[in-house]
Amino acid sequence: MPLSFLDDFRRGDHVRALMNRLEKSAAALERPVRIMEVCGTHTMAISRHGIRQALPPNLKLISGPGCPVCVTANSDIDTFIEMALLPGVIATTFGDMLRVPGTRMGLAEARGRGARVQIVYSTLDALRLARENPESKIIFFGIGFETTAPTIAAAIAEASSSGLDNFLVLSAHKTVPRALTALCSTPELAVDAFLCPGHVTAMIGPHAYDAVVADYGLPCVIAGFEPADILQSLIMLCGQLAVGRAEVALQYTRGVRPDGNPTAMALLHQVFSPCDAEWRGLGVIPGSGLAIRDEFAAHDAARHFQVDAGYSHEPRGCLCGAILTGLKTPGECGLFGKACTPDHPVGPCMVSSEGTCAAYYLYETNDVL
């Protein structure tokens, strides 16, 4: 995609014209409306481009559970850290995870205590490490949603077919639609509509949200990540709310096909099967995780290493759980901006580049502090 094409979605005159239209659409609603942006990349874009402050007064955007690092339960993080501390192990992970504080220590601290922890940009890097270090076990921390899970499935399939037995994955993957229906059943949340994640939907396809519409009557619009995308999607949501309609609509047409990405999803299902998963803030959601299938058991770190990470719990005073579910905003957390900053994060939402607290701290502290 040429960048000049992307520039059009950021042009001041385009964006301001859309904001004018959104103001009219919101005014027509004549009531306050709460829209949840599910995806962490949306949260960042909304904060970074100053969209939240510029919104019409009756429109409120609530940040949801769409940051992969943030929703990873401390129990999974503690388990991975225990594995990283084992002799002969090279622990590999995406960068953000390094600084997330676990119950007793974070990965950065584990590295200081002698654990071999390597940041990788993709699973291909982890596979290469496995080839170059046949005497070591390479454990990759599989986190994230349907966007990253297929690439990790591909790595496991590749390791399996090429006999790379020292490549293992600790799978803490999550699937998005189950989390949305779980959120819909949270009465105190009172969400009126969802701004759905563009990249996840490019994989799972728009129909994945049919249940949200059918069972809960909430409008869903699948949005791109530029300011113009987000504003246009909000206009579409207001349009549905104005006439009391609820359907799945697609704004991000340049990124999402009607059937998603069947090839990637087939690979995902070939390697993983649904399992119950613990989410930070949401607890255990049945069928919302991805376990490595028996055929690939040789690459399943959870089966290979029996570690006891002890009792896991959230940091004292940290509201990440409530912030991830939209029940609280960062400004309502007593630690935010004081004990908890990006340099000294207490909870994962302050660490991750997609975290709600990091987004508010980086771009919106003017309004919060």
Partner: protein, 353 residues
């Protein structure tokens, strides 16, 4: 016949200059050290001060002197647009220039890991000399140590330098005043993007090039155009975002920039999009941010644009009195709303310079 030919080729390669390596003995202080100094450093940096081989350079300096030091540990040591040699020279020259000083003399300390190819050292030293010539400075003192394999990563270079501050020049990080225009000298984030593109085997199909360059000449032209330049800083580690926050804090002011006013290279922005990085946080090694009285801004901008290293210079924002008791930097978004531009935090990219 075939075997003979192969042997001959092997023999030639092992004796060629390509295969010579720096050994611990090169740092022993003995004959090999002497050879290294004469063959590499003495040849490249030849000047009357160095040629005397005294224990220290003896320099004639008058007036106010700027004096600074900068260590360089960049990885990789060779990158598009430069290498650790060029970087180590320009780093110190630019720190001097940011005080309004005319950079004059440089000293350099080399910590070399045993096994570094001799030719790599020659390339590094020669690009250092090339940068010194561009900056019109002389390397007048140096030191070399060789450490065991694993105790360093190829080569580390520390440079220090002195420059003379012309009479009447009062430039300081604490000098920015409400009403000043904020000027950047060109596209932002080029060095950081070039380093990332060389790390971890990332191939973007386009060559991202570091902007690594000595800024003394550009600053001299700016100073000739106006006596109302209040603060200068080269936005290296932490990028423009860190520089603006440092100046705001040191000067006790708020700063506001327009997001759409910042000049970026298309390739750099594209790479940042892909990797989720903010170009405002990326290092620059040949750019400066200037805080200039509004009345003189157009004149300074004009002088900058006539210099090759300031061709893309533009005004990106302005300074205001601090609204609260802590100083802040704001970015005006395309929507017209104002967001905080904070200090980068954590290890963004280690060892970029």
């Amino acid at each position: 016949m075939f075997l003979f030919l192969r042997l001959e080729i092997t023999f030639m390669v092992s004796n060629s200059n390509n295969d010579r390596r720096i050994l611990l003995a090169h740092g022993s202080g003995g004959r090999m050290t002497q050879e290294l100094i004469e063959e590499v450093f003495g040849t490249a940096f030849a000047n009357p001060f160095l040629d005397r081989m005294d224990d220290a350079a003896s320099l004639d300096l008058t007036g106010r002197i700027a004096f600074t030091i900068d260590s360089h540990v960049v990885s990789p040591i060779f990158f598009p647009g430069g290498d650790i040699g060029r970087l180590s020279l320009t780093g110190t020259v630019n720190d001097l220039a940011m005080m309004g000083a005319r950079p004059l003399y440089i000293s350099a300390g080399f910590i070399i890991e045993e096994g570094l190819p001799f030719q790599d050292l020659q390339t590094i030293v020669s690009s250092m000399q090339q940068a010194a010539a561009e900056a019109d400075v002389e390397v007048v003192a140096g030191d070399t140590k060789v450490v065991e394999r694993g105790a360093a990563d190829g080569i580390f270079i520390t440079t220090s330098g002195v420059g003379s501050i012309p009479a009447g020049i009062q430039i300081s990080a604490s000098g920015a005043r409400p009403g000043d225009a904020v000027i950047v000298s060109g596209t932002i984030g080029d060095h950081g993007a070039a380093i990332i593109s060389r790390r971890g085997g990332m191939d973007f199909n386009v060559e991202l090039t570091s902007d690594c360059a000595p800024l003394g000449g550009l600053v001299a032209d700016m100073l000739a155009a106006s006596s109302e330049i209040h603060a200068l800083r080269d936005p290296t580690r932490g990028g423009v975002a860190a520089t603006l926050n440092e100046i705001a804090a040191a000067s006790g002011v708020d700063i506001e920039i327009g997001e759409d006013l910042i000049p970026f290279q298309g390739e750099v922005r594209a790479a940042c999009e892909l990797l989720g990085l903010d170009p405002l946080f990326l290092a620059n090694e040949g750019k400066l941010v200037a805080f200039v009285a509004q009345a003189d801004a157009a004149r300074v901008l004009d002088a900058m644009r006539r210099h090759p290293l300031g061709a893309d210079a533009c005004i990106v924002g302005s300074v205001a009195a601090a609204e609260r008791d802590h100083c802040r930097v704001f970015a005006r978004t395309v929507l017209g709303s104002r967001r905080i531009l904070s200090m980068p935090s954590g290890e963004q990219l280690p060892r970029i310079c």
